[in-house]
Each structure stands twice: as structure tokens, then as C-alpha cells.
């Protein structure tokens, strides 16, 4: 049995449309990665990157065109595998005739739980997602955030080993997001594996152990958050005091992001990911010109910075999947 909670190997998906499938769109191209059990994994990517398609392949909603995918050691789409997964789809629709309680009974039943079992579990679960007072209310009256919380509750109802969340904080207010982060950390502490699909990078950065960046159906980056951000050289900021022309001459070889001066006559110069030799040369020239070097600081890249960098750097695909 495979030890990875999720494993994909050269996964490819081509959607075909039109008569005899003459039109095709490649949603996934040779994607390979694995998710270790007990971790929180974030799959990042712009709209149409193929994130949801990848999840659907794992759950068996979409058939793969090539490669291999498995979940909890079982082939993608295997019914036994799905029994171990809790899934919160993006923009999910819960039938309008249900209440919070009856929705849990319905989805619990679909997961094989008896109504009694659902009744036993739902109180704590609704409490956990902040809907304890709204269980008897029709979902027609639920806000977007409440529906998202209910969706999370149904995904957790049957105590899954793997939780797949597609844009889980979509429509949830900041307090709710904070609560959701706490829930996810708690679940991780319980040994659950969590697979998050999101384009809210700060949220992912805050909770995920590992992330992958998918652009145009290709996997561009994968690793720990620190590793991803560390791959990008940090920017360097100089704070100097001296003649403005001398300062400018000292940075003639470097890529300057920004110049600024304060009231005290100090100048701040930001360099774009300079090599250490460039930094040293700049310092040498400043010192040689008699310019005071007040401070030299390195600024760490955020995940968003890396993400944007990767997205912009990625080659444009001719058959971009659009909103898939």
C-alpha cells in the first residue's frame, strides 16, 4: 500500500468536445507530486490552471487521459477511496429544501452513515463550524459564509482521513477564516491530511506545510513554503547618507527597484534580487565615495511574490483551459 495520501504521476487530462472530439483542451500536463499523510498541502494556481480538474480526477468525477493518480493508496475514483475523503467543492450547491440538520443527514446518508449516527455527530460538528444555532434553519436563508461552513461540516461528518477543500474560505469573513484555520490546524493535529485548492495565497501560506503551483496545467513549483520562497533571491535595501549623485554612481551596475529620500537627507535604494558580489561592489563604491552606509537589509519574498513570479514566467499555452 502506498504511504502517500495523494500521489499523482505524469497525470494528464485532455477534455474533448465537438463532433468526434475534434476540439480538445489540455487541462493537466504530466503533473506529478505526492502529499504526505498528516500534512496540509496547498495547490495554487490562477483560474484555469487545472487545480479543480486535478481534484476531480482524484475523486473520479473526471477520467484521466494519462498517467496515474491515487488517493489513500487506492486508484483515483475508487469508491473505497472516496469513503475516506471529505470534499468541499467550490461553489457547492446544497438542495434548497434542506435545513442545516437535514443536509447533514442527507450527505451523511450518502457517506453510509445512519440517521442516528448523523444525529450523534452533527451537534458537535455544527458547533465546530459555528452553525450550532442554525441547524434547523432552511439553507435557503443561509449566507454564502454559512453555506461554506455547512459544506465544511458535511465534508467532516464521516470523519474522513483526507480532506479536500476547494476554495474553502471563499465568501468567509476574516473571523471565519481565522476559525477555519484553527479547525484545519486541529485536524492536522489529529493526523488528517488536508488538500487545499486556493488562490488566496496568504491563507495558504499561513496553514500549508507544502504547496505546489500549477499554471496552465503544468506543475511549476512544489515544496515547503519556506523552500518555495527561498528559491527566489531576496531584494536588498540600502539606507545611505551622502551626495545624491555619488549614491547613484555607486549603484550603476545594480537593478534598482526604487529610490526614496527622507527629511533627514537619507536615501533608500532597493535592489532587485542582487547577487552578493553586486552588493559588495555597491558597498565598496559607496565607501570609496565617502557616502555613509547607514543600513543594508535583505527583504524575504512572500509566497504571493513567488506565485506572481511563477505565473508571469510561465509560458502561455495555446489551449489554455480557461475556467476549468
Amino acid at each position: 500500500m502506498n504511504s502517500a495520501a495523494v500521489e499523482v504521476e505524469s497525470l494528464t487530462k485532455v477534455y474533448r468536445d465537438g463532433w468526434f472530439g475534434r476540439r480538445s483542451v489540455t487541462a493537466l500536463r504530466e503533473v506529478s507530486f505526492s502529499v504526505a499523510p498528516g500534512t496540509i498541502f496547498g495547490l495554487l494556481g490562477p483560474n484555469g490552471a487545472g487545480k479543480t480538474t486535478l481534484i476531480k480526477v482524484l475523486l473520479g468525477l473526471v477520467s484521466k487521459s494519462g498517467g496515474a493518480a491515487s488517493m489513500m493508496g487506492l486508484s483515483a475514483g475508487d469508491r473505497r477511496g472516496r469513503a475516506l475523503v471529505g470534499y468541499l467543492p467550490e461553489n457547492h450547491r446544497i438542495p434548497r429544501h434542506l435545513t442545516g440538520n437535514s443536509a447533514l443527514t442527507y450527505y451523511g446518508g450518502l457517506s453510509g452513515l445512519s440517521p442516528a449516527e448523523v444525529r450523534r455527530r452533527r451537534g458537535a460538528l455544527l458547533e465546530q463550524v459555528g452553525l450550532a444555532a442554525w441547524g434547523k434553519m432552511s439553507v435557503k436563508k443561509y449566507s454564502k459564509g454559512m453555506l461554506q461552513r455547512l459544506g465544511l461540516a458535511q465534508a467532516l461528518l464521516h470523519d474522513p482521513r483526507l480532506l479536500v477543500l476547494d476554495e474553502p474560505t471563499d465568501g468567509v469573513d476574516p473571523v471565519g477564516r481565522s476559525e477555519m484555520r484553527a479547525i484545519l490546524q486541529n485536524l492536522k493535529a489529529q493526523g488528517k491530511t488536508i488538500f487545499i485548492n486556493s488562490h488566496l495565497l496568504q491563507e495558504v501560506e499561513l496553514v500549508c506545510d507544502r504547496v505546489a503551483i500549477l499554471v496552465g496545467g503544468r506543475l511549476q513549483r512544489i515544496g515547503l513554503v519556506e523552500e518555495i520562497t527561498a528559491l527566489q533571491k531576496p531584494d536588498v535595501q540600502f539606507t545611505v547618507a551622502g551626495d545624491d549623485q555619488l549614491v547613484r554612481d555607486a549603484f550603476v551596475d545594480a537593478t534598482v527597484l526604487a529610490w526614496s529620500s527622507d527629511a533627514a537627507g537619507r536615501t533608500r535604494v532597493a535592489l532587485k534580487s542582487p547577487e552578493q558580489s553586486t552588493v559588495n561592489a555597491c558597498i565598496d563604491r559607496l565607501r570609496a565615495s565617502g557616502v555613509d552606509v547607514v543600513a543594508v537589509t535583505r527583504a524575504r519574498h512572500s509566497l504571493e511574490d513567488v506565485f506572481l513570479e511563477v505565473v508571469h514566467a510561465a509560458p502561455k499555452s495555446s489551449d489554455h483551459p480557461g475556467t476549468l
Binding site: K56, L59, V62, R82, E90, G109, G151
Partner: protein, 816 residues
């Protein structure tokens, strides 16, 4: 694991309950049930006479008038004594008018003199008499045999019994005095009411007799409100269920659960039927309770119709669901479902129109082997002769008297008389079934002369003639209300106002002037009393335009029995082809008529089989009498004592139309209206069923079985081995080819939701055929349209299975 799918079905019920449309429909159905609930049925003893209580007005008024002239006290004389002048005047007027009628006229009393209004006036007077305490006169009824109930009431004393009992007693006395004239007077009548208000006049029927009619009305109500309205509303309401299931965000959630796609779809499909289960279940349970509590008819088949209507809906819903999966749009689903509904209707209608208008009229309903050929009669009334491998028309269809749609009169015969090489048959006129006073059937003779068939009309047979046989000596016998009559060798010519005789060459009909001969004496010089004394029947030769059993001068010679039968037409009869013995069944009573060496008949053993036996068919040969009743029960009786030797049930629902036995009595063939011919040994063993659309059966001169099926095909079977010996099958014409090779196969495999109404009819009535015309319930020979019960179910079931299977395959291959 089944729990996920049960959850889906259960949720569908929750969804249905959450639907406002369901509640609106339930409210509408409740209002309908509340509207029906006050209706009730009460069965009471019949007290008053009705217009149709008198089966033979001419005989009644003649007898009253005749008995009034007699010095001996009699019921007729008593009625005359109690009647007022207008009553007497009406009777005298009718009789006087008849005396002035030109000789040979065949007009009926009802048409000529005794109008419906006049009869109603006589009836009112009779009903007033029945309320009188002095109606009964011991001397007048001294010669009348009374039943136990009447005797008991009389024993209480006419002056002491309540008025209701008095009317009942007088009615019973009247019935006992005039058994032939009021032979079909039911003892019970039904009163239909709404709350406490009576609706219309009492219905002259018992609850048992009315039950089939009530069940047909209930079937109609169910068919409209559930089979049409509720199903249509359900199609509209449930159309969005499947498209909503496939909405983005909904289907992902469902398919992420450990479920099988196809089963999830099927569960959703089953859940979609919740709407119709709730609405149909509610309405039909309500209807069942109303029928039970208000009408006293606890017909549990009404409840069986709930799954049937569910099945009907599932046919349409399978199309709706398939369209929903393909297009994921509720409006498209509804439009396609309605188009499918229309298509089913068009296919069914096309098939029915072709069958009813073009093919069924050609179906052979009678066959009679002649010495040279085989003559057949089709449903349109055409006489056909098998020559040169095709059916050639002897006599064209008579549009007025034939019954292509089943509304005409019954064809009696034909029989082939080899001595004179002539075919004889009787046909009741269209008017026969609707007339206020029923005329006699018309006798027609077809003679093979010089290579052509000549047709001419014979003398009207005795009143109530229902059967025509060829006796063992080759003589032509008719069985009428009073008994058995023999047609004299010379068949008199038609009356002058009867239809022209036809001379028809095979295949090319042409008319020639009819021959006119003297009508035999219509007036009996010896008078009715003499005739009565001679034949034991109280009648005159030609009374008021209606031919009655008469004297030896009549072409129909009475052969007995002397003790009059009082058979109410129609009745069943059969003749042993060897001995010539006849057995008749009328009003549930089986009577054996033994033929003596002189050819006269006397009463033999009798047996009461009860009214429930219905319009049974009889066959007799080899000392065995077979009685097959409407329910399919076959009694094999010993001809000597009419005791049951053996009984068995026919397959299916029974519904026999014809029975015959081989002359040696070893083999029996019973044809049902459903088109099944069952051939078995006399003890019911070695049973074989032939075909499914057999329309006629006969025996040829060699004792082989002639079986007509596929409308015009006749197959000769060896009667013992049922091996095909010969087949007469005309070449298919274009329409027949289109029907057999295109319409029928297509119709067979096509779903038939519209025909499930027939299944409802079958469930409620237990009948696999529908009677055509007013007399169908009484006469087994009257054409009935076969109801295919299993066919629509199987074809529709197969259709639903195929549509759902293809949809499941498609869903399995879909990406979501």
C-alpha cells in the same frame, strides 16, 4: 451498500413534500374526493315496473285482452277488471290497428301503434294497480305457481302487510302470471344518491350486475385524474430534479461520496417518482374508501392501480430523465417528454385505426364448410368463398346490419344444408339491440346455383330465436324463446317490403329482381287457443307485426318442448350433431331437450347454474355437455343428468366466445374473445392453446379443426395431434403488408403508456376484452375488443429498461 441510495429516495420524498405544487394537487384531488364522497348506492327490492321490465309488450297486451274475453278468472282478466277506460282503449286501439295492418307487413308494434308514450301510460296504470290491496284475486291466480317468498307474503294476509310489502307482493304476482312477458325483471334495483338526494330513476340491476359498470366508471375517473392530470403535473414538477442534480457544485458533492454513478441516477429517478406515488396513492386510497364505504364495493384492485400509475409515469419520466442527462435543462426535458407522449399516442392511434377501420372488418368470425369449398363470414358481414387461393365475396357487407365496429346485431349461423346446397343464417337487425319492442332476426338463404350464389330473404323466425342448427337428418332447426322449431323444406319468399334478394356471382356482386312468393297464412284460423292447445304455447301466428310460435301452417314447425321454456333472449344453446339433442342455458338455468325418434323435443334434466354463470358458451357431443362461463370456468357435465363430471379453468381470464365439440365428444375447443383457442380432451386434459388472435373456429366434414387467425388466414388442424394439415392464406395486400411488417412490429416494441388504461380496466373488472354494443354483456357471440394486458406492460418495461440503461452508460462515461 444500499443506504446512500435509500437516502436519495427518501430525500426525494422530502423534496416532494416541500413542493407547493404537490400540496396544490393534493388539495385539488381532495376536493374531487369530497365531491365524490356523498355519492352512494342503495340496493332495494324492485317494486315498480319499468318500461324495459316488460320484455314482450305485444304478447302481454294480447294476453290481457284475450283473457278479458274469457269467462274463466285469470290474471289478465283481473287486470282488465281493475283497469280504467283509457287503459282498455289503448290496448284495443293497438290490437285494432294490427288487424288493419296489410298482410305480410313486418312493421313492429312499437313502430306502428304502441308508441313509447302509450306503453308508458299502460305502465303507469299497471304500477297503480300494483299498489292496490285488491289486486290479488285467489281465483285469478289459482292456476299460477307461486314461489315461496310470494306465498309467504300472501300467507300474512293482503290486508295486513305493509304497503311496501304489498307492492312487492303484487309485483311478484304479476311476474308469476306473465313469466314470458317479464322474464328479465330483476328482483333488485339500485338507487343512486348524492347525500340524501336521489339521482335519476332507480337502476334495474342488482349490485353485482352494476359492479362492472361502476368499476368502468371508476377506471375512467382514475384514468383521467391520475393517468392524465396527475401524471402531466408530475412530469412538469419532476422535470428539474435530474438537471438540478447535474448542477455544478451539486453533482461534485454527490459523486465525491462513495456511491456508484448509475445507481445514484437510478435512485434519483426512483425518487422522482415520489411525486406521483404520493398524489396517486392519496387519490386512489380515497377512491377505494369511497367505493367501499359508500358503494359497498371493496375493490382492492383500485389499490393495485397505484403501482400501475407509477409505472405509467416512469415511462414518461425515463424519457424526461434521459433528456435531462443529455441537455441538463428542465424545459428541454418537458418538451421532449410531451413530444414523446404525442408520439406514443400517434403510434397507438395509427395502429388502432388501421386495425379497426381496415383490417378487423376483414377478420373471419364464422366459417362453414360447404360440399365444395369453405365459406367464411367476416366481421363486416361479408360472406366469402375460398376459391383460387383467395377469398371471393359472395355477399357484400350490409352496412346497416353488419357489425364491423360491434354495434350491429349478432349473426346466427350460418349453417350449410347439403341437400339443397344452401347456406342459411339469421341476423339480428341493428334495431334489435336498441328497439323498444325487438323485431325477429332476419333469415337469409344463399343458394349455390349455376356457379353463382343466390341470396334471398326467408320468413321471419319465431320470437326470441337465438340459435340456428343443422339437425342430424340435415333439417334446419332454430332455437327460440319457446323451444325448438324446424324450418320446412320450402322457404317462403320474402315479404313485399323486405329487402331485395341478391344474386351474386363470386367476386362480382350484382343485384337481380327478387322473387316474390305468397307469404304463408298469417292468420291462424284455429285461433290462439287452438294453437296453444296444440303446441302448448299461448300465442298467435303473427301478432302485431311480430312473429310468434304458431301452428303447423307456419314454415317454422314447433318441435317442443310442450312445457314452454320462457327463454329470454339472448340465451346459449348447443346441439349434439349425432343425436340432435339440444341443451339451452337461459337466466342461469341449464335445460336438456331430448329429441325423440319423431324429431320432437321434450324436457330432460335441468340444472340451475345461477345467474353468475353469465353469457356462457355451450358445446355438446358424445354424451357430454360443456359449459364455459365468462370467468373461464369449464364444467363438463354428463348429458344424462347434467351432473358435473369434471371442471377446470381455461387459461387467462376466460371470456369464451365460441365452443365446439367433435362429434364423438372426445375433443373440445373453446375460443375466447382474447383470441386464444384452447383445445383439450373432454376431461380437460391434454390442453393446447393455439394462437393469440384466433377469430373463429369450426369443424370440417372430416372432423378436422378449422382455425381462423391473422384476420383472413384459415388453418386446418388434425384435431387429435393439432398438426397443421392445410392452410388457406390469401396473399397480403399492400395495407396488410405494411401492417404486418412495419406497423405491428414497430408497435410491438414501442412503449404503450396509453394502453395501460386497458390494464386498469382489466385490474378493476377482471375482463380481458371490452364489449361492443349494448348487448355485449349478455351475448357471448357479440364481438368484443381484446385487451392486451401483458403486451403494453412488457414493451413499456423493456423501453424503460433500455432508456435507463443507455442513460446509465452515458452517465458512466461523462466527466463532471
Amino acid at each position: 451498500m444500499i443506504r446512500p441510495y435509500l437516502t436519495v429516495v427518501k430525500d426525494s420524498f422530502n423534496e416532494a413534500f416541500a413542493s407547493r405544487v404537490l400540496w396544490i394537487l393534493l388539495i385539488v384531488l381532495t376536493l374531487i374526493l369530497l365531491g365524490l364522497a356523498p355519492m352512494g348506492l342503495r340496493e332495494e327490492s324492485t317494486t315498480r315496473l319499468r318500461l324495459d321490465s316488460i320484455g314482450d309488450w305485444p304478447a302481454l297486451i294480447t294476453r290481457i285482452e284475450r283473457e278479458s274475453q274469457s269467462a274463466t278468472p285469470s290474471p289478465g282478466k283481473r287486470i282488465w277488471q281493475l283497469s280504467d277506460d283509457s287503459f282498455k282503449e289503448t290496448i284495443r286501439g293497438a290490437l285494432e290497428s294490427e288487424k288493419n295492418e296489410p298482410d305480410g307487413g313486418v312493421q313492429t308494434l312499437g313502430e306502428a301503434d304502441l308508441s313509447r308514450d302509450a306503453a308508458s301510460r299502460l305502465l303507469d296504470d299497471l304500477n297503480k294497480m300494483l299498489e292496490r290491496r285488491d289486486f290479488y284475486d285467489a281465483a285469478a291466480w289459482s292456476a299460477i305457481k307461486l314461489d315461496a317468498e310470494t306465498a309467504e307474503l300472501l300467507g300474512k294476509g293482503v290486508d295486513r302487510i305493509a304497503q311496501g310489502d304489498l307492492v312487492l307482493l303484487n309485483r311478484q304476482l304479476f311476474k308469476a302470471a306473465f313469466p314470458a312477458e317479464v322474464a328479465r325483471l330483476p328482483d333488485k334495483e339500485l338507487h343512486l344518491s348524492y347525500f340524501t338526494w336521489p339521482i335519476g330513476s332507480p337502476i334495474p340491476a342488482s349490485r353485482d350486475m352494476a359492479e362492472p359498470v361502476i368499476n368502468q366508471v371508476v377506471a375512467g375517473i382514475m384514468g383521467f385524474f391520475v393517468g392524465t392530470v396527475a401524471v402531466f403535473v408530475a412530469i412538469l414538477v419532476t422535470a428539474p430534479i435530474i438537471p438540478h442534480m447535474f448542477d455544478a457544485g451539486a453533482i461534485d458533492l454527490l459523486l465525491s461520496k462513495p456511491v456508484v454513478r448509475s445507481l445514484l441516477f437510478l435512485a434519483k429517478f426512483a425518487g422522482g417518482c415520489a411525486f406521483i406515488v404520493l398524489s396517486a396513492g392519496y387519490f386512489l386510497v380515497g377512491l377505494w374508501l369511497i367505493m367501499g364505504l359508500r358503494f359497498g364495493l371493496w375493490n382492492h384492485a383500485i389499490l393495485l392501480c397505484i403501482p400501475l400509475f407509477l409505472f405509467l409515469f416512469s415511462i414518461y419520466y425515463s424519457v424526461s430523465a434521459a433528456a435531462a442527462v443529455l441537455w441538463k435543462n428542465a424545459i428541454v426535458s418537458v418538451v421532449i417528454t410531451i413530444l414523446f407522449w404525442f408520439l406514443c399516442t400517434i403510434v397507438g392511434t395509427a395502429k388502432n385505426v388501421v386495425e379497426t377501420v381496415f383490417l378487423r372488418p376483414n377478420a373471419i368470425v364464422r366459417m362453414v364448410p360447404t360440399d365444395e369449398s369453405l365459406v367464411a363470414v367476416n366481421q363486416a358481414g361479408e360472406f366469402l368463398d375460398w376459391r383460387s387461393n383467395r377469398w371471393e365475396t359472395i355477399v357484400g357487407p350490409d352496412r346497416m346490419e353488419s357489425n364491423p365496429f360491434g354495434f350491429g346485431g349478432v349473426l346466427i349461423g350460418p349453417v350449410f344444408e347439403p341437400k339443397q346446397k344452401r347456406l342459411l343464417y339469421l341476423r339480428e337487425s341493428m334495431a334489435h339491440r336498441f328497439a323498444f319492442i325487438t323485431p325477429s332476426p332476419t333469415l337469409t338463404e344463399l343458394t349455390w346455383t349455376a356457379g353463382t350464389w343466390q341470396s334471398r330473404t326467408g320468413p321471419a323466425p319465431p320470437r326470441g330465436t337465438s340459435w340456428l342448427f343443422l339437425g342430424p337428418g340435415g333439417e334446419v332447426l332454430v332455437v327460440a324463446a319457446a323451444g325448438v322449431f324446424r324450418l320446412d323444406e320450402h322457404v317462403p319468399s320474402p315479404s313485399k317490403d323486405s329487402p331485395a334478394a341478391d344474386v351474386v356471382a363470386p367476386g362480382a356482386a350484382e343485384e337481380k329482381p327478387r322473387e316474390v312468393a305468397e307469404q304463408p297464412a298469417a292468420k291462424d284460423p284455429s285461433g290462439p287457443a287452438a294453437a296453444s292447445a296444440k303446441l302448448g304455447v299461448d300465442t298467435i301466428a303473427k301478432l302485431l307485426g311480430v312473429r310468434l310460435p304458431t301452428t303447423e301452417a307456419d314454415p317454422y314447425v314447433a318441435l317442443g318442448p310442450e312445457a314452454r321454456l320462457f327463454l329470454a333472449s339472448p340465451f346459449s344453446a348447443a346441439m349434439d350433431p349425432v343425436s340432435g339433442d339440444v341443451v339451452v342455458l337461459g337466466s342461469g338455468r341449464l335445460t336438456y331437450l331430448k329429441r325423440d325418434p319423431a324429431g320432437r323435443y321434450r324436457r330432460g334434466p335441468e340444472r340451475d347454474l345461477g345467474e353468475a354463470v353469465g353469457p356462457a358458451v355451450l358445446a355438446m357431443a358424445g354424451g357430454t355437455v360443456a359449459v364455459a362461463d365468462r370467468q373461464g370456468k369449464v364444467l363438463m357435465l354428463d348429458a344424462k343428468n347434467l351432473e358435473t363430471r369434471r371442471q377446470f379453468r381455461l387459461g387467462g381470464s376466460g371470456d369464451p366466445s365460441m365452443a365446439l365439440a367433435t362429434p364423438d365428444g372426445r375433443r373440445l375447443a373453446i375460443l375466447s374473445h382474447t383470441g386464444n383457442l384452447i383445445v383439450c380432451d373432454a376431461d380437460g386434459m391434454n390442453r393446447t392453446t393455439i394462437g393469440g388472435d384466433v377469430s373463429a373456429v369450426a369443424l370440417d366434414a372430416e372432423g378436422r379443426l378449422l382455425v381462423a387467425d391473422r384476420f383472413t388466414r384459415v388453418t386446418t388442424y388434425d384435431v387429435d395431434l393439432l398438426r397443421v394439415v392445410e392452410r388457406r392464406q390469401p396473399k397480403l395486400d399492400v395495407l396488410g403488408g405494411v401492417y404486418h411488417y412495419f406497423i405491428r412490429p414497430f408497435y410491438t416494441v414501442f412503449p404503450k403508456p396509453g394502453e395501460l388504461d386497458n390494464v386498469v380496466h382489466y385490474l378493476l373488472t377482471g375482463e380481458q376484452s371490452v364489449g361492443q354494443g349494448p348487448a355485449a354483456a349478455q351475448d357471448a357471440r357479440q364481438p368484443r375488443i381484446r385487451i392486451d394486458v401483458a403486451g403494453p406492460i412488457w414493451s413499456s418495461l423493456a423501453f424503460v429498461a433500455v432508456v435507463l440503461a443507455l442513460t446509465c452508460v452515458h452517465i458512466h462515461r461523462m466527466d463532471f
